[in-house]
Symmetry: C5
Subunit: 355 residues, 5 copies
């Protein structure tokens, strides 16, 4: 099983920086390139076959959003790089899906790498997909690992020419997408959090190994989430303080709002992390409690019946001279002794509050 917390880079060692090598799992056959071009009056959506086609949109004063699904085709990525004059370091990072989320400023572009996280409830697992954004002067490039994303509502808002989005620029579109990404963080945390809070009660009442396994799984997923969300907070903070022509002052309040949201996400992840730690501790303590109970039962049985068995053993010996055996009432006295000893032991454990 490959390490889930770190993606294979071995094939890249020693290569010159800027070398385009796809690092990741190939999740689809042929990449798909979609382009949306709009301003407040016009809207055009096409699926591109040749990158050159996007050329005509570059010159005019509209917002052009080019979305690529599938990252393994280095020719395609190189073409896009040439078309939009992107630094080779950007292209390299886009193709390396093991990137740490980050923001980098270039002369003509802001480059953002983020993780889209989704809680797959059937597998109880967080699915991570890398999203790269390049914010240019009048274009936004987005790169995803596979077809299918959370951005359909944003596309619908564009299509319906509703709200601020059709009047605002590229930076606002980028904000809208990042907002959707963070919304999904919150939702994933929420789903996972519900499950974490759900086991709370069982931990004390019924600390079986299955619960322990759940705690372990949740811990791993929370850590995995945290690895994607915490650096996201960093770059959203950077973005909300950025001093760049590419980000309009009117977008800043929205980015600050987004910062609040991601901060809440980060804090919630931390809360659940600590909750899981607490749960593990309480679980362990609870197991000790249960063991204590088991031990008490064992001790009660042993302490009552072992002495009684011993007494019975004495009268089972075959000594020829054994005066008591011959007495008529011996048998009843014997029972009397057994019952007395038994009652004394019961009382003793009663006093200890074990019964």
């Amino acid at each position: 099983m490959p390490a889930r917390f770190l993606k294979k880079r071995s094939e890249k060692i020693g290569l010159a920086p800027g070398s385009l090598v796809f690092v990741g799992e190939k999740k689809m056959e042929k990449p798909k390139v979609r382009l949306i071009n709009y301003n407040n009056s016009n809207l055009q959506e096409i699926e591109l076959q040749i990158i050159r086609e996007s050329d005509k949109f570059k010159k005019i004063e509209t917002v052009t959003w080019l979305n690529v699904d599938g990252l393994h085709d280095d020719d395609l990525i190189r073409d896009i790089g040439n078309e939009f004059e992107l630094d080779s370091l950007i292209l390299e990072d886009i193709m390396n899906t093991g990137q740490r989320p980050k923001l980098e400023e270039f002369d003509n572009a802001i480059f953002i790498v983020a993780k889209m996280l989704n809680y797959d409830e059937t597998k109880d697992e967080i699915i991570s997909e890398q999203l790269s954004l390049v914010i240019g002067e009048n274009f936004l490039l987005t790169f995803q690992e596979r077809v299918g994303d959370y951005f359909e509502p944003v596309r619908n808002r564009i299509r319906k020419s509703k709200g601020r989005i059709r009047n605002a620029g590229v930076d606002y579109l980028a904000y809208a997408l990042l907002d959707t990404v963070v919304d999904n963080y919150i939702m994933s945390i929420e789903k996972l959090g519900e499950k974490i809070e759900d086991i709370e009660e069982e931990i004390i009442d019924n600390p079986d190994p299955e619960i322990l396994e759940k705690i372990q799984d949740f811990k791993r997923e929370v850590n995995f989430m945290r690895k994607g969300i915490r650096p996201a907070r960093e770059f959203i903070l950077q973005l909300s303080k950025i001093d760049s022509d590419l980000v309009d002052d009117n977008t800043i309040p929205f980015l600050k709002d987004l910062l609040d949201l991601i901060t809440q996400a980060v804090e919630s992840v931390e809360v659940y992390r600590e909750m899981l730690n607490d749960q593990l501790n309480i679980y362990h303590t609870s197991v000790s409690n249960k063991m204590n109970e088991v031990m008490k039962i064992l001790t009660i049985f042993a302490a009552i019946f072992i002495p009684l068995t011993f007494i019975a053993g004495i009268y089972g010996t075959n000594f020829e001279y054994f005066p008591e055996l011959g007495f008529k009432y011996s048998y009843f006295i014997f029972w009397g002794i057994l019952i007395t000893v038994g009652l004394i032991m019961l009382r003793y454990f009663k006093n200890k509050n074990w019964l």
Copy 2:
């Protein structure tokens, strides 16, 4: 059970920012809007049916405090927003009761989201309610989730025209309300703290599972509290350093005092958090101690009576040639052996300090 540490946002995903969607539990039928208008000579209290009525108070140089109980009516919120020219982001946050406490400056207003926390001693649970404040030039808007609050003493101070409050501005009224909120934090921590300190002794003497459950509950409540109180410290710090026309210099010392108070609240929460961690550790150790005791009792009984039973067993065998059985004093020697072995064992455990 929905996650308590994160409120459902799923219905909001992909919506444009500023969309008015109520997030939370609807806690009452019809929102209630109360308005208090005062300066140092006059005072007026009315319950508004139509927001427009508040119009006349806006122009004059008095303090207008509009309080809304109930947040689910988006038309009402929108009307208030129009009337007082609030940014749509403010309105959105007011209706989303899952907000992280924060302060945001706008051109014409300071917007604060806080949590009112109350320790419900019957359920041993912290009840949280969202409070939003908008500090405008001559008006203060407050939004709560339901009727009934801690602000009655402040209203009484206004009504009795007693103290500084009738001579000071909107900022001082906001301070007075926040002070009441923080006072309630302190009181809730205090109540919870008493319960936490109370179980201290039982932990060692009587570590039963009920105590463990209490520790777990208190941990959850303390964490829940912390989630509301820590960001409150942040925004009170921000407020006490704010450079805005909306906050008068004379109010700053009061805000600094409030900062001391909330700092104390935050530190107390941390103290109780650590105390609970310590309690859990000590509880666990104490359970081990108890188990040790149980084991000792078991071992003493087993180690004394199992050998004795064995000896009795030997003399219970039916060998035809068994010389000892025929001797006259065998029976007494047998008892002698039993008593000797028993005493040796007792002494052994005495030496081990187990008895």
Copy 3:
């Protein structure tokens, strides 16, 4: 039992700031007010009945130290406030003994709240008393909860007109008092620390529940101490960097020295906190060790004698056809088997290093 880590504020909720309400335990009947007035040539000590009497000292260029023991008399506090023109927030804080230690600058005064801590060795408990200092231009006001303090040596230094104190100003006197307070922190930590270091050895050799109780108690006391000492470091740092006419440059080196001292106090508290954590962990581990030992004894006895008892049991059966029973040497062979099995078991446990 009221929460020890937070003092009752409930009676204050909703009151206007500056309201004089005593929060704390009333520790004496009638407050006592003592005044010392001195310069390098003269010295006067009187017990004041009426605050007005202090009037004549205010005008002249001497150091006036007014000490109040007992805080529950709001009239007295109000009179002092009027006499020395103190802000109402100062008066409020003086009467509230649940204050967090802090320093606040006012126009004409520096206000300090500190905790005097004393380790009561008979009860193994830290006793806390609130000390408020107001540093004015030529007067120092100190407020304590009850008669009896650590300041007698300072008074003696003033009386003997020895050393720098009679030539220096109010700020130096304040330093001298704070120095005494910090000295007492160190001494309290030292006393507690000795006890903590003392139990170190017993933890492994003899981890009985009493030791656990001690660890719990020490943890509580160390936390309680820490709550008073850490904020004290903050305000001494503030004081040593203060830019105020009320603190002379010549006093700064002394304040820096004091800062070193309180830093040492804070660090020592942290060291003991960690030491107690370590002790708890080692204690727990040690209990497990002991249990292991108990279990081994039980297992040895059980594993040796249960099989032997079984063998004896076989020859105690009453089968009519039981060939071995009739053989002459059966009895001796029987013993041989018992001894062999016993020795094998002993050797087994010897090999396991259990014996």
Copy 4:
């Protein structure tokens, strides 16, 4: 066994700084000195016997890379120091393989000490080798402890005159080497991480002591790695912000990229550290679970058969007057009692969910 986390310095105590004493293990016989000299048109590779030979390359405007394998020959190091006018502190640090990774600026050179880490999968051990770099105006000196390194791909890039490397300066070459070093960090973490993630499942299902040993080993290796990687992040940060003529502005973006990479390395190490802590806790809890299970089995057997044995014991006594023994159906009633008692016990444990 010498301490692995700290290298022997004892022989150096009291010596003047700048004394050349080799600290470390001598890993080869005779040091090997290789020189590569290139610009974008020419390339020369030689193995130097006498350091003086490098003289001719110093004057011309090419990049000269002198690599030394083997550090124990102080004459050689001194010669190089003289030839390239290095500060004696640099030479001392080069020979002391126990150095903490760091960057130091000198007037004419930037001096970097780094650790090359390699995960030896056969021994499950991180192998560390010290790499020192001196970045001069037109030369780069590298010092390694032994022959064989990760730099062959970089040499090949130089040889093939491919990519940016032949056109860029010494700083870029240094970057290329450090990039290779960090790539190897990532790869080592990845290998170790895979093994750490692999044991995850066994921890709950089969917590045997071997797994515990693995956790202990991995913890040690992760800590060892961390000790080399964390300071590396510091000096790469320093380097990416350096204000020196020796580092060209064009190299800065590459250094920032490298900083992202090392940050990812540091974070991954932290993630695995925490994962190991979690694993240890879960392992411990799991052992308690197993013990609980063992105890239950013991208790079930003991609680069922000890009472039954006692009952059999009663009817094994030899009382002369023992009415039941004579009844015809006694034997069957006896069996009835045994079975009833046994069933009651079974039901009892069934109700407790132990079966």
Copy 5:
């Protein structure tokens, strides 16, 4: 036993600052004062009887190093103070061996307090001795608690007029001494670290109480060390950034080198602290593992032989009507049952992987 982590200050409470009171253990009879005076051509070493003798060295432009062994003679300290015009706060701190390591700047001197730490391998204990340094314009004063120190190699370097030391100033001499002190930190950590790493293996294989005691001891010593070394890092950092005429620019690189060294010391101490925490956790887990093993043995014996004993018990009953007893093959069938039951149990435990 006095607290080792805090030295007695009680005798000083309430005294004026600057009072000369010796705090510590008196480690020798009569203090010893040695003076070395040198420049690059001359050298003089004398043992002073009267401090006045040092007078003649003060005026000339040479380096004068006055070393005092033994701190309890307040007259001597006062004389030195007068002779070299030291602030009374310096003198007080020199005599108080419970000082926290620190650096203080005065008008004419830099005052440093450090701890010399030495690992006494016979007692497995860190021995601490206070070293005070006063760096003046052309003199260096050093104060130690007793005769015998690590500075002999420095003296030899001075005597042999070898290296930089004879040409450099007082600051370089101070550096050379501090370097020796830090070298000894490293060596002490190394010795302790070796012992800590040595027990690693035994923890899992053989977790006996002796190992636990060692872990406890090492923890205490590491904490003790840390208390001396961490503040040393602070003052060396301060010194390396100092802006004072008393420290020459040429000495700064050496101080930076020293800073690297002490940073390494601090980090190593932290590494060993964490390693000990890990060891304690692993030890505890390992004890649980051992207990599990013990329990398994017990359970196997009990679960096999208790049922068998019960069966034997049945056939030991004395029912008159007991059909099986009379059958000829009963005895063999009986053995058959015993063996079958035994084998079933063995198989059961085999399946559970306990055998």
